[in-house]
């Protein structure tokens, strides 16, 4: 877009609304690139203090949706409201209240960490103190290091710190922990939790189901530009599949096994493994262990598992592989 478009940037007063008004409100949001419809009518509300995760394979429209909310893209149709502003207008008043961590963006590499934070803080009316920013992302020891000398993970943490410079009411994080080691990922999760504890709202995308499970109050799964599931992680898991899987290893000399337990068909697979799929796990386990005790069979490696968010996600996404356009 032409850069003079910003000449009309106006400083608008923050919209004051009832506290129940969602931070993000989307209705019938659509975005087309020529013939390709990247986002096909999304309805979404994110409430104050919520962590909301957008999941979906690459090319599902997650980043496009985020970039519409951030003001980088203009929607083709539908309504969008972020903190009471229309993000398509690119109000300076809105940019002052949101913090953005894009998937990959450069940063002035000849400046030091502390200089970068001072520079970006200066853009905001009520910035966080530099020491606090360094502490939140754990870069206090690297404060005087030039950006170009930082490791990949340290740079990503600096991205987060830059997004937090303005003490934003809404933090938008596009795959914030990609490239983090497990320790750093857990620190980032703690950081996000602390932020939302103080009334901030977070919208994030991630490919890590454990991340969504731990962080998200609610989530939406996006496939081919449409929401196919939305709700709390537990509800999404439950909605996708209510089936519990019982697995057990039978010794080689096991006598004949009943064909079903409490209505659940027993499927045998190689090396003595037996699997039951049931929506009534209590009864099935009871019958299975009852039979085993009566028959004198030792059940090895008995597991009863609820489907994980990852199972539910894979069921929802189907065979939509990575890398679709």
């Amino acid at each position: 877009m032409p850069f003079v478009a910003t000449l009309g940037d106006a400083v608008t007063m923050p919209a004051v609304g009832p506290s129940t008004e969602p931070v993000i409100r989307l209705r019938g949001l659509r975005k087309s690139y020529g013939d390709l419809e990247a986002v096909k009518g999304i309805d979404l509300d994110v409430q104050v203090g919520e962590v909301f995760a957008l999941l979906g394979p690459n090319g599902a429209g997650k980043t496009t949706t985020l970039e519409i909310l951030e003001g980088y893209r203009f929607r083709t149709s539908g309504d969008a409201s972020v903190l009471g502003h229309d993000p398509g207008r690119r109000d300076r008043g809105l940019q002052e209240r949101i913090g953005i961590c894009l998937q990959s963006t450069g940063i002035e590499r000849y400046l030091t960490v502390v200089e970068v934070l001072r520079l970006y803080r200066g853009y905001y009316p009520r910035p966080r103190p530099v020491e606090e920013l360094l502490d939140i992302v754990g870069l206090t020891d690297q404060a005087d290091m030039r950006v170009r000398r930082l490791s990949g993970g340290q740079r990503r943490r600096l991205d987060l710190a830059v997004a937090l410079c303005g003490d934003p009411e809404l933090l938008v994080l596009d795959e914030p922990t990609t490239g983090f080691d497990p320790g750093a990922r857990r620190q980032a999760w703690d950081m996000v939790k602390r932020l939302t504890g103080s009334g901030r709202t977070v919208l994030l995308t991630t490919h890590f189901m454990d991340e969504a499970q731990v962080l998200a109050d609610r989530l939406a799964v996006l496939v081919h530009g449409e929401i196919v599931a939305m709700g709390t992680p537990a509800a999404v898991v439950g909605g996708a599949s209510a089936v519990t899987v019982i697995r057990v290893l039978l010794p080689g000399d096991t006598p004949s096994v009943p064909g079903s337990f409490s209505g659940a068909v027993a499927t045998r697979s190689g090396a003595g493994s037996l699997e039951l799929h049931t929506d009534r796990p209590t009864e099935a386990v009871h019958e299975l262990t009852g039979w085993a005790l009566a028959a004198g069979v030792a059940l090895e490696e008995l597991t009863v598992s609820r489907p994980s968010l990852e199972d539910a996600y894979l069921a929802l996404v189907g065979d939509t592989g990575e890398g679709h356009p």
Partner: protein, 249 residues
């Protein structure tokens, strides 16, 4: 914070970053001086020493301004775009135009410093007097050409597909012009090449700077400044159409 103070601190940070990139700083400052010494040595060997020094001091000042504004803006802005720095800035409350104005001001500061250095080297090494009496005209020329060549740099940055292609494209637009614009070689005003050079802004800046250093050789003609400003306006119009904040894939 007012926009003007935002711009002022942005210039400060851009300037800090500029001096910490030794390669960029070296080429920006060393190349004009190398050319200045080379041209003088070559032509002193021809026995036209003092005339050559009088010609090349303002000519290299012209080269410095074009290099520091047009060339470096086109290259550094397309690099910042490729790296995603422009996109990040675009997500902050800093108005995009304020960021670009800051970058241009920083480029003009570098140009100013270069002009000073070249003028002093001209005096000390080649005995070319400083144009003290023409200082106001020099200031006007710097303002008009600084703004115009920066605008042209932005326009070309908008046409550059990626940072790797930037040096080739920028050099292709500017190097041939140095040869027909009284920067690297002095042409007869009535020659065909000089006439072609007259269509572009560099030769007009060279004319103004020759007038600054010695108005008896070439009197100042305001039309030269009008040409430069017109090219600058064209650059701004093109930039508004081609400039983008996001990397091009």
């Amino acid at each position: 914070m007012t926009v003007s103070s935002l711009i002022a601190r942005q210039v400060r940070y851009e300037n800090t970053a500029f001096w910490r990139n030794p390669a960029a700083a070296f080429f920006t400052f060393a190349v004009p001086l190398i050319f200045m010494v080379l041209f003088n040595l070559i032509l002193t060997g021809n026995g036209s020493g003092q005339d050559a020094a009088r010609f090349y001091t303002p000519a290299i000042v012209c080269f410095s301004i074009v290099n520091a504004c047009y060339t470096s803006i086109a290259m550094t802005v397309s690099l910042a775009r490729d790296e995603g720095i422009l996109k990040r800035i675009r997500g902050t409350p800093l108005p995009g135009w304020a960021y670009l104005v800051a970058r241009m001001l920083q480029a003009v500061l570098v140009a100013l410093l270069l002009v000073l250095i070249v003028a002093v080297v001209g005096l000390v090494a080649f005995g070319v007097p400083l144009p003290v009496g023409q200082l106001p005209l020099l200031v006007v020329a710097m303002v008009v050409s600084g703004a115009s060549f920066c605008a042209l740099g932005l326009a070309v940055a908008g046409l550059i597909p990626n940072a790797a292609a930037a040096p080739a494209i920028v050099n292709a637009t500017v190097l041939p012009l140095y040869f027909i614009s009284d920067v690297f070689v002095q042409l007869d005003d009535s020659s065909v090449l000089a006439r072609i050079g007259d269509l572009f802004p560099i030769r007009h800046l060279a004319n103004v700077l020759q007038a600054v250093w010695d108005p008896t050789v070439r009197p100042f003609d305001p039309i030269d400044l009008v040409w430069i400003a017109a090219w600058g306006a064209l650059g701004l119009i093109v930039a508004t159409r081609t400039f983008t904040w996001e990397p091009r894939s």
